[in-house]
Amino acid sequence: MEELIEILKDIDPDVDYETCDTLVEDGVLTSFEMVMLVTDINQRMGVSIAPEDILPENFSSAKKIYELIQKSRGE
């Protein structure tokens, strides 16, 4: 989780990722940022996320993204 927060801070250091659950709606994560995020997750954590999992609801909060990583790791 800490690693994820670190990656997210790279994208926008000013967001409180512990609490924010409207990352997509607020425009913190646009499709461009999602791609950067997924690339970083892949390269730094070695987890590849499938394109079909790129849904707004999977990226609304750091917690959700973490769940997605766990799920993708399992597959």
Binding site: D12, V35, M36, T39, E52, I54
Partner: protein, 503 residues
Amino acid sequence: MLLVSYQFLLFLAVLVILYYLIPKKFQWILMFTAGLLFYACGGPGGLVFVLVTVLSTWGLALSISRIPKGEKKRKSLFILGLLLNAGILAVLKYTNFFLQNINTLLEPQGVSFSYVNWLLPLGISYYTFQSVGYFTDVYLGKTEPEKNLGHYALFVTFFPQMVQGPISRYDELKDQLFKGYTYDSRRIRSGLLRMLWGYFKKLVVADRIAPLAITIAQAPEGFGGIWVWIGMVSYTIWMYSDFTGGIDIVLGVAELFGIALPENFDHPFFSKSLAEFWRRWHMSLMRWLREYIFFPISMSKSVGKLSQKARKVFGKNMGRRVPLYIASIVTWFVTGIWHGASWNFVCWGMANCIALLISQELSSWSKKFRKTHTWTESNAYGCFEVVRTFLIFCMLEMFEYYPFSSVFRLFVSMFTEFDPRQLIGGALFNMGITIQDFTILILSVALMVWTGFVSLKTPMREWLSKRPAWIRFILVYGLFLCVLIFGIYGQGYDASQFIYNQF
């Protein structure tokens, strides 16, 4: 059958009456039949291609769903379906473009291929994308395959959306299509009102401003300076009112039958950045491209490997950009070529791509800037951003209608040769539209801007329903009279097709 024709209105009237007379469970069959009829009127030849697309995506999707994930055959069937449908679209739409380029290359050798004269089925770009989207969702396991061929066929041939979108998703539309509806006068009124507004934008604004936009756009040599500005703004107004007008008619028609198609525009000209603009303009297409091109490419294994390599060679910052850049370029190439088989559209797509990537690179800087300068939170700055976005969009449009070689020269002339005096003395009224037309246009655009402001907060029809009956009557009947009298239609006028039709 054009959406702007007496025949269409008659067709629609008969259909609505039948629709609410027959038992609910047959309504979808009526719609399907009507779709075929509607399509056949536009050219029976095209129907064959539609049926090939319907049958192939339906049948293959069903077969795929029966094969367990991970089996090779599943993937081969998927690729077969993709190649077949993308192939039909590519061959029919792009063969001449391809030949044209070959001919240009081979001209020195004296080789020349003659162009083909194949029919382009109406709305092929729309229905192909829509069915390929469904097909991909089934392959990815995002949606259940439809077993009933008739149901699926209606999804593809639902006539209001067939010609110019919006591009719907099966999982979002299927329940609505087959539910069955009882007559509700409010629904009819609401649908008719939306259609009326669409006809207003199409007939009163788009078809009126078109000659001006075309005259300037087609003569890059003749009109520089201030004319580039006028051409740019009129082209944008033309495109916006033509496209959104058409979509309003489509959504209004669908509403008459109780079906809510996805919205395609969300006040795009209120966007504060180009990226936001593209999330609010032609939304159904942009979503499609995001889901089926942008994300899959950026997350594909080969791009991932490339990104790893780039990371090792050029460092972390380059590495993480590779997927984004590759996916953006491909996506915008497709966006461009989807809009039209010409290099103009490709250039236009690339120009948008570059502008978006630049603003992405600048975003961390601009975030910092905004934080240290609190005045950027004021309304005035917001207005500035809106105008800036509008102008950026307009200027990028220049790649679409000017030859690539002229764009930069004309762009420079907008500032170096800016001379409003050129407009004095009636020159403006020699461009295919009269002073009366200008008056109508200015008033109409003002009306469109005003409704845009109102509907940011409350949807227009909701706002209207809160007014007293007599005001409602005056406004709606007044709008009807405007379309009736100021609309460009009828004898002596060659009903121009919707710009977005042939895609």
